[in-house]
Subunit: 352 residues, 2 copies
């Protein structure tokens, strides 16, 4: 049995009993019912994930940033040259990127997984070198990854999730670094939602109308030439995805199998989540939407995943920055159930 | 010279030089320009408030919860009996309220100011007893506060802000506790924005349509009988405000005079901010909108204050809970300017 098959087989749905207990407890806490909006839903879902009410405090938190390059950059879909992937991974490892600043703010550890960067990185604390290849192939001329590559990349993601959970982390988040990866993400979102490419493709780092039109036609061509279909999710992932996406798919499935919540970042993580859900629908019980990205594909993907984002700040960076900012919200939702007194225990008169 | 006059005279506008330096720095950081949405604006504004770029890290943070009762409760405007104010203050002092749970999450200290609770509180850590009176008078039969009371309450707010800043806090937030205080808030918002009462009045803790209609007519009557007008802000505050609101007005002005940012919570804090801005327009340079409350009056007030809320979670609790959740966002916005590398310093290629 492959590592992927074994992982999928281990995924259990969230505990309905724990969620029912959480709903009852929410109604007894000293606050007007429903006054905590989506945080109440997240708290209840955490109980289902961990299988207990109240849930444990979801800490420590760890953010895994999957980094890879994209052959489709040859088609001129990004404002930044491909070398920026390698440079920005260096910046993250030096602690100078936005995800580092935000992670320090929220007390989360950052791990970078080189799963497909085109270039060599020196060993550094916080870097896991699990390179499957030096970037994907150009998806407009054939599959971005071979069958062996996509399997290896998914297995990297499974291994990484197991490792960070074994280190004691109880709340995970995923981010990305890869010039060109909003192109692969839009392709996956179109394939897995059935929506037109033009409706799910955004400006990434800030391209103009002409480049956006080009990006849409590049994606349409890639989907067509590869006959990418949601019926074979892993084949579709290989066809138009990236190594980051494949790593995230494995990570999302393994975290679900180990009943550990994962906060999704923006369009890259959300597109990977669509693939992972197609592989194992129950795994989605373990995911929380970190933020509402400015990318149109992210909004579409979250709607299809039936997840309500916690942070809404028009962020469009990636790296896991939006997921990082959601960490205190997820932890706060657990604190509501763990720490807030009930009307009875506090001697507060309930409403008339 | 009165304490209020002295405080207003000390308010200086935010530093235009520091904000210009911040805008320039934002464009050099290793992220697509504008990709941090409103967090970039908050970071730039922090530079203006503190008068330096990059700004200091806005910590430690302190939340002042102003608590008071409202004579207008006699008109049947709330689902909860008036005694809940006293009970919930006890709950906050015991650490069992939502604002406590959220403050622990974000590392903020909570101080409760009894500025007008109808009932006696035992001395407790975190409680400042600065009671002006045991609740306001019923605003439908005359002014809620006398001229002497409103002056005393504003001065309490000034004193409290000075104290928490003297303790070393560099980021402040304000919250409230007071059954009936969304009624006073809607009245103030209608007076200071000129909008119809019906357009700025919400369901508070969750009243039904019939009670909402009653609440609107109660507020209309109070504004009319007191001839409340924005031309004399302190008189309007006395007429239809509450002790919490008056305390917040003083707090907001004193924090501005001491160049210290204040995060506004929901509809109560936002209504107080409208009054404070009418007294001293420059003071608004020092305020940050914590969250987009579910109360319609809060949205209106924020639009009039030209502030963009950071948290959007449909919260409708008060206590400072929404402001507490915004604390890490404000701190993260400072970290962007303090900690993120520039394209030059990180050796990252800028866009083509």
């Amino acid at each position: 049995m492959s590592l992927l098959t074994e992982t999928v087989a281990a995924i259990m749905p969230a505990s309905a009993d724990a969620m029912a207990a959480a709903e009852e407890r929410q109604s007894m806490l000293t606050k007007p019912r429903g006054s905590m909006g989506p945080l109440e839903d997240v708290g209840t879902r955490l109980c289902g994930m961990y299988g207990e009410c109240p849930p444990p405090l979801p800490e420590p938190a760890a953010i895994a940033v999957f980094a890879g390059d994209h052959g489709v950059c040859a088609q001129g879909v990004s404002l930044y040259p491909q070398e920026v992937t390698l440079q920005m991974v260096g910046n993250i490892l030096a602690g100078g990127a936005v995800v580092n600043a935000f992670s320090r703010q929220v007390g989360a550890e950052v791990t970078v997984v080189d799963i497909g960067v085109a270039g060599e990185l020196e060993a550094a604390p916080g870097l896991l070198v699990r390179k499957v290849a030096a970037g994907t192939a150009d998806m407009t001329t054939g599959p971005a990854m071979t069958a062996a590559q996509v399997q290896a990349a998914v297995e990297v993601g499974i291994d990484v999730a197991r490792e960070v959970i074994a280190q004691g982390n109880r709340l995970l988040a995923i981010g990305d670094m890869g010039i060109g990866n909003t192109t692969a993400s839009a392709a996956l979102i179109s394939v897995f939602t059935g929506l037109d490419v033009a409706d799910v493709t955004g400006r990434g780092t800030g391209i103009d109308n002409a480049m956006l039109e080009r990006k849409v036609s590049v994606i349409e061509k890639a989907i067509k030439i590869n006959a990418a279909s949601p019926k074979d999710p892993i084949a579709a992932l290989a066809a138009v995805g990236g190594f980051e996406h494949a790593g995230m798919v494995g990570f999302l499935l393994a975290a679900a199998a180990l009943r550990t919540p994962v906060i999704l970042d923006g369009v890259i993580a959300c597109s990977a989540a669509l693939v992972a859900r197609a592989v194992a629908p129950q795994a989605a019980d373990y995911w929380v939407a970190g933020h509402r990205s400015a990318e149109p594909g992210a909004k579409v993907a979250l709607a299809h995943l039936d997840l309500v984002p916690l942070v809404d700040l028009e962020l469009r960076l990636g790296e896991g920055s939006g997921a990082a900012l959601a960490v205190p919200f997820v932890q706060a939702s657990a604190r509501l159930l763990r720490e807030v007194a009930t009307f009875d225990s506090a001697g507060v008169t309930d409403k008339k």
